[in-house]
């Protein structure tokens, strides 16, 4: 039987799915053991038990100076920035996407501009951003917005253009004005696409967040990683990396669920 027609049974499938994770953990343990055997002080690959202890400490023990549990404070601050940045980017790109996709004038005016802007490397603009928007929360949020809005806008305006012309014509024959078409025909139909575009862009959003927090912040997941990098405190870094991975996964999953729940009409397509 061809390999493409062979399907693993249920228990085998579960085993297979777990396998790469198990292998990674084992490889890490061997690497860590080797390095620690050579130098018990080695910080690069701390023993899993050390990571576990550190993780427990980070999640539960409050900071001596401030009395807050830093990891939760960092998580709160970073998630707030992320939510704000992504939210603003979504709002901007939704409006721009509808305008560009729906109005020929707006398309002429903006689509070339957005295409060029999307090629600008936002990290290189960091110094300017900090000057214009200060070193507070604003500049971090703005970096995320600048970083992902062009992508979201291009994606959404393409989706608006993909809406069958027939639907737009039909709406016109029902007497709909441009505004009504935008609000009642186009907007609801690209909302699910907005969610999938956001899911795609979240990776970059995290990247920009971490980069911005590395430069100027006093709380945040990226700030903490950057801070302890100086001491090569890999136990802390790895805990934070795993935690960010987990958060990213949960957010992605939640958005997927939301999309399924909020847009029941997205069945098999028309």
């Amino acid at each position: 039987m061809r390999l493409i027609n062979r399907r693993p049974s249920r228990p085998v499938a579960v085993l297979l799915a777990a396998l790469p994770f198990v292998l990674i953990v084992i490889a890490y343990m061997i690497g860590s053991d080797l390095r620690l055997a050579a130098n018990p002080q080695d910080k690069l690959l701390p023993a899993p038990s050390t990571i576990w202890d550190t993780a427990v400490r980070l999640f539960t023990e409050p900071d001596k100076r401030s009395g807050r549990i830093l990891l939760w404070a960092d998580t709160g601050a970073s998630l707030r920035r992320l939510a704000l940045g992504v939210g603003i980017a979504a709002a901007i790109s939704l409006s721009l996407g509808v305008l560009i996709g729906l109005l020929p004038y707006a398309r002429r005016l903006l689509s070339g501009f957005v295409a060029v802007i999307s090629m600008v490397p936002p990290l290189a603009l960091l110094p300017i951003l900090f000057i214009v928007f200060g070193l507070g929360e604003v500049s971090k949020v703005v970096l995320i917005v600048i970083g992902i809005t062009p992508f979201l806008t291009r994606d959404l305006s393409q989706r608006v253009l993909d809406i069958p012309h027939e639907e737009i014509v039909k709406a016109q024959t029902l007497g709909a004005s441009t505004l009504v078409i935008a609000l009642r025909v186009v907007l609801p139909q690209i909302l699910p696409r907005l969610i999938s575009a956001i899911r795609l862009a979240l990776g970059s959003a995290w990247l920009f967040l971490i980069a911005a927090e590395a430069v100027a912040a006093d709380v945040g997941l990226g700030y903490r990683i950057f801070l302890v990098r100086r001491y090569l405190a890999m136990d802390v870094i790895l805990t934070y990396v795993l935690w960010i991975t987990f958060l990213a996964f949960v957010i992605d999953w939640a958005l997927k669920r939301l999309s399924g729940k909020a847009f029941p009409w997205m069945g098999a397509g028309l």
């Binding site: 027939e166 014509v169 039909k170 024959t173 029902l174 009504v180 139909q189 098999a268 028309l270």
Partner: protein, 255 residues
């Protein structure tokens, strides 16, 4: 005067003529079937009637009114696909046909309740009451087209344009839709233009059958001339046509 007047209409895309010298007069309440080879410009003609495209030359008028510059509530339309809004329930699709004409596009309160009641009556008439709360994606092709027609008629257009409305349906469903349409017509006396691939269908449903074809063609450049109405059959007499030849077809043009 005739109800719909098409006078010397030409249409070209990128300099390539698709339709040329199209003239036709249609009385109120007539059912016009339009047939012709694939790609000869039937849908283009319908888009011109719809004012979704404007003629390169000539004019189309309803009751000697202004030339329409864009689609409006005078002209209802049903396409082969994508004629209903996938993100609205069946009932909301009918309500939309009333509410889209308002400033905000939404109805609220009493007006909404009224529109809903009228929508439910419409759905009962087109036999979709049992799926009023479903989304179109869950409906069969035939049901979707019935909804599309019901929606178009709710907006009370003066003419109804159908572009191969049953092209994607299987033969059984197609027959049922013929009955549905015949019945509706008996009730509303709407002026209808229907493009179809199926000659039988055209003769069965139409009062007149217009045939689009290229009367002139250049053997060295098949795209040099556009199509026009070459036959205009009267199909009222139970499908036994007596024909009016409007143009000689396939006259070679000496190159």
């Amino acid at each position: 005067m005739s109800f719909v007047t098409v006078r010397d209409v030409w249409k070209s895309y990128d300099g390539r003529p698709i339709l040329e010298r199209v003239n036709v007069d249609v009385e109120e309440g007539e059912f016009i079937s339009i047939v012709g080879a694939s790609g000869c410009g039937k849908s283009t003609f319908l888009r011109l009637l719809l004012a979704d495209e404007l003629p390169s030359r000539g004019a189309i008028r309803i009751e000697q009114g202004h030339r329409a510059m864009e689609p409006n509530q005078e002209r209802g339309v049903v396409f082969q696909r994508y004629s209903v809004f996938p993100h609205m329930t069946v009932r909301d699709n009918i309500v939309a046909a009333e509410s889209f004409g308002t400033r905000s596009g939404w109805f609220f309160g009493k007006r909404l309740r009224g529109a809903r009641e009228r929508a439910d009556e419409t759905l009962a008439r087109i036999g979709l009451s049992h799926v009023a709360d479903n989304y179109p994606a869950t409906l069969s092709g035939g049901m979707q087209q019935r909804l599309a027609i019901g929606q178009a008629l709710t907006a009370q257009p003066r003419i109804l344009l159908l572009d191969e409305p049953f092209g994607a349906l299987d033969p059984g469903t197609r027959l049922a839709m013929h009955d549905f349409l015949t019945e509706l017509r008996a009730r509303t006396k709407m002026t209808v233009f229907m493009v179809t691939h199926d000659l039988t269908e055209g003769f069965k449903l139409g009062d007149r059958v217009l045939v689009f074809d290229k009367p002139r063609w250049d053997p060295h450049d098949p795209g040099a001339y556009g199509a026009t109405i070459t036959y205009d059959f009267d199909a009222r007499d139970e499908g036994i046509p007596f024909q009016t030849i409007k143009e000689k077809t396939h006259v070679p043009v000496s190159a």
